[in-house]
Symmetry: C2
Subunit: 517 residues, 2 copies
């Protein structure tokens, strides 16, 4: 921690506050306490350890997610938060986890391979040894030539982009120019609504993939080995079947390191007989189909404002082949650390502060969407619940483990200057930028969809897009302690400011019913 520059900047904040929509009052002493606690007595890495290594993979409704739910609830309560609860949000679907995963090439020679079962795929019938068929199909018609060829074989699907030597670094930070550019783009031009063509293409691709899965099954193939990319032993993961309890059956399927998949394909295409030994044992859980969020509160202390709520959150669920360190134990650890800091700093917030750790984000923001529906409003009808009027703000963190460089104001032009004021005493930590841009892909959208002020912070990308996001290498090592400490202080500061200011954060015009997803 560097108190001198901080105090200097805080001083300049007071003089420039008049330029903002309204003067933001700042209690220097509290901000200093927050920073001291977050920088000098951080527990964010310890929290991250329990979320990742100890809980394990946290796929939606999996035993790992249940472990994390229990641990986080208890941990938040142990820090003095109240109303700590694992709160069901509704029906999700089947739980699933891996009990055994083994795949090797056993001819033309032995080679143990790197891969993992796709989520929600079934077990093999014990260990099976099979020959392979390479299937190359860009359309349903392309499958015709494989009719009668797949019985009892392992299907190898193609590799999109072969790995090659990497001349670009995996990890990077935003440059000053990039951050400046973010502030220059008009919010309207930067809207991130997926365009219709892209959505249609994606739907067509999913439909083709479902038809292929049906084809492999009906042709009597033994299993499928596929890839979604990666390199160097890193591979990307996804689901291979729906999580609905009544989902159609599919074959056992593993996602493979591209290097291993490519070797199999090259050998098979050179007519060299390839044999695979494969054993996956996966376990479905259908006792409890519900999904859950973990919530806990620091009660407000202002008689008039304590029924108003400032929320902060991140999603606790992850994919299954690693421990979801950057996606999104990092966000959860930072949000938990932020409320721990506020408690440890003895903050008496005027409004109630509520942390939420969302479940089932990876399957479609289910935890946050349903929490919003249960507590605030149904986006289909836009019928508002009373709590809708009392949410001051929601802050989200889910873009990896990089430090916070600013915040997406999500088109909320009235909120932007307030954020700019709040960032001023954090400038020496590298958090300076407010952009009106929207950003998508995570749980603040559930709030934004019903006209609530939900925001995601801008974070340094690090190696999120290249190496960790949805891969088997999203592990504890990918969490830089300094970045998480910084993010914890920034979030604690923002939440504190939102809990203390006279007014709730301004809102955008309310959406009309059914417009939001």
């Amino acid at each position: 921690m560097r108190p001198l520059p901080f105090l200097f900047l805080a001083g300049s904040l007071l003089t420039s506050a008049a330029h903002a929509q309204r003067a933001e009052k700042t209690d220097q002493l509290v901000l200093t306490k927050i920073r001291d606690e977050g920088m000098d007595r951080s527990r964010v890495m310890e929290t991250a350890f329990y979320l990742t290594d100890v809980s394990g993979p946290r796929l939606a409704n999996s035993p790992g997610l249940q472990r994390a739910n229990e641990w986080t609830k208890n941990q938040l309560a142990s820090w003095g938060l109240v109303n700590a609860n694992v709160e069901p949000w509704g029906t999700f679907g089947r739980g699933w986890d891996i009990e055994k995963s083994y795949v090797a090439m056993t001819a033309p020679y032995y080679h143990a391979m790197i891969g993992a079962p796709k989520a929600w795929t079934p077990s093999t019938n014990g260990a099976v040894k099979k020959a392979v068929v390479v299937v190359k199909a860009a359309t349903e018609a392309d499958l015709d030539k494989y009719k009668g060829q797949l019985r009892d074989k392992i299907v190898l699907t193609e590799v999109g982009t072969p790995p090659k030597p990497g001349f670009e670094p995996d990890a990077r930070r935003y440059t000053a120019e990039e951050l400046k550019k973010m502030t220059e783009v008009p919010a309207a031009a930067a809207a991130t609504a997926p365009d219709a063509d892209r959505l249609a293409a994606r739907r067509a691709q999913l439909a083709l993939r479902a038809k292929m899965a049906d084809f492999y099954l009906s042709e009597g193939a033994a299993a499928v080995l596929s890839t979604r990319g990666g390199s160097d032993g890193t591979f990307f993961t996804s689901n291979g079947a729906p999580y609905a309890p009544d989902a159609k059956p599919v074959l056992p399927e593993m996602e493979m390191a591209p290097e291993d998949q490519l070797r199999l394909i090259r050998l098979a295409e050179a007519s060299i007989p390839v044999e695979i030994e494969l054993e996956t044992r996966t376990r479905f859980q259908t006792q409890d189909l519900k999904g859950y969020n973990v919530v806990a509160e620091i009660p407000g202390t202002d008689r008039k404002l304590k029924n108003e709520v400032v929320m902060l959150g991140a999603h606790l669920d992850s994919w299954h082949a690693a421990t979801g360190a950057t996606d999104n134990a990092a966000g959860c650890a930072v949000m938990m650390e932020a409320v721990r800091i506020l408690k440890a700093a003895g903050v008496q917030p005027r409004r109630t502060i509520r942390i939420a750790l969302w479940g089932e984000e990876e399957q479609g923001l289910h935890g946050s969407k349903n929490y919003v529906k249960n507590h605030f409003a149904d986006p289909a009808t836009m019928q508002l619940r009373p709590e809708h009027a009392r949410l001051a703000a929601y802050f989200n963190l889910d873009n990896g483990a990089g430090k916070i460089r600013g915040i997406y104001a999500q088109g909320n032009a009235a909120a932007a200057p307030i954020f700019s004021e709040w960032l001023k005493p954090l400038a020496d930590l590298g958090a300076t930028t407010v952009t009106l841009r929207n950003t998508g892909g995570t749980d603040h959208l559930s709030f934004d969809a019903v006209g609530l002020p939900g925001f995601q912070f801008i974070q340094d990308p690090l190696d999120y897009g290249t190496r960790t996001h949805h891969t088997n290498m999203d592990t504890y090592e990918r969490l830089p302690a300094d970045d998480l400490k910084q993010a914890s202080v920034v979030v604690a500061t923002f939440v504190y400011q939102a809990a203390m200011r006279d007014e709730m954060l301004p809102r955008k015009p309310q959406p009309t019913a059914g417009k939001a997803q």
Copy 2:
């Protein structure tokens, strides 16, 4: 191929040749044919495929190396080379390969891990499930506190350098400044003899490691999991026991991806019970303890010079956890391609050209050292065989898959200007640099040690040091076709020049007996 700049440069070569020690005669037509064949009708990637994917891992005296020996001998013969032979060089030791490799964490939850048995380690007793003990020992005395603690446990050793987000690219090419700098360093200052301190430290480390292995065995541990570094699913490999048939027994030991090893260690150190399931089945081969090199020739056509020999070579053996693509299928594929090009281009060399693909390089340059001893001279006595007087030059390639940027003249000041002349028509391919520096670590040293002119080319590093050298990710994907084509043309050109010039390459002063290793 770009014939115009080539012809232009070739023209300029003729005018500047007078500056060299002696004018190098150049047959433009042949050089053009070599380039055309190497660039437009390359088969180097096909050769690389057979060396890597088809042969598999090629550990010293392993079935994979035997497959590669047979294939390369036959392939060289099929291209019209003569005297193709798998030539024994003497006694090596036991062969070894992997029949099964499986390691997973089974408590506190299931996680399939990435690793491979260390070379020459024994099998586990089927699949075993055991608890773990983390051993931290920098000295033999540090082991004392583990006495009585290891029985039936899996020993976890420490991880030197934990992985973290990578802000530097894996792969790079030499810059013009770096190449220039290489030429500026005086040869004497750049001598690469390992200094005594470093050797002593290395010996002490090996001795400690042997003591630790004895300790784990005598304490009744079940197995060892260790790491030698890596990240992202890439791990480095080595041997866990000597290859001598009478080597002392050791425990089964696996080298692990550091991310997996670190997770185990963090959990164990937090007193969370960890259970490992482990199954390795390895096979020793003691029927044939001999080591082999593959050799083949293009006979010389000049009545006076055909008994003189120009050699080119690379090592065919590799480590065991990948297919040794950059170390050193790349070098072998390029050397094979160079002789194929020379045959296809109809070259009638004055001297005999002999390719050698060395065995057992990774265990101490055994193949080339013993070939030199059998054919040329014993470095211990410096008694010269008749062939010693007739070796014009030896060219080696073993610094990965990067294109050739020049050549290490290995302190041979008389050879340097000749190489400079030979490089001139190759300048547009990026091969321009002659350095007097020595370079070590590979088979040209076996020649240099007995006063024979042995040289290694300068190659772009790519991701050799960071990602492929002795790792589980040294696979076919790491071979850039353009780099290997370029290298093939450069090598073919050098070999052609050496086979055609009036004199053999000049030599350095002869070493005295016993000086060389």
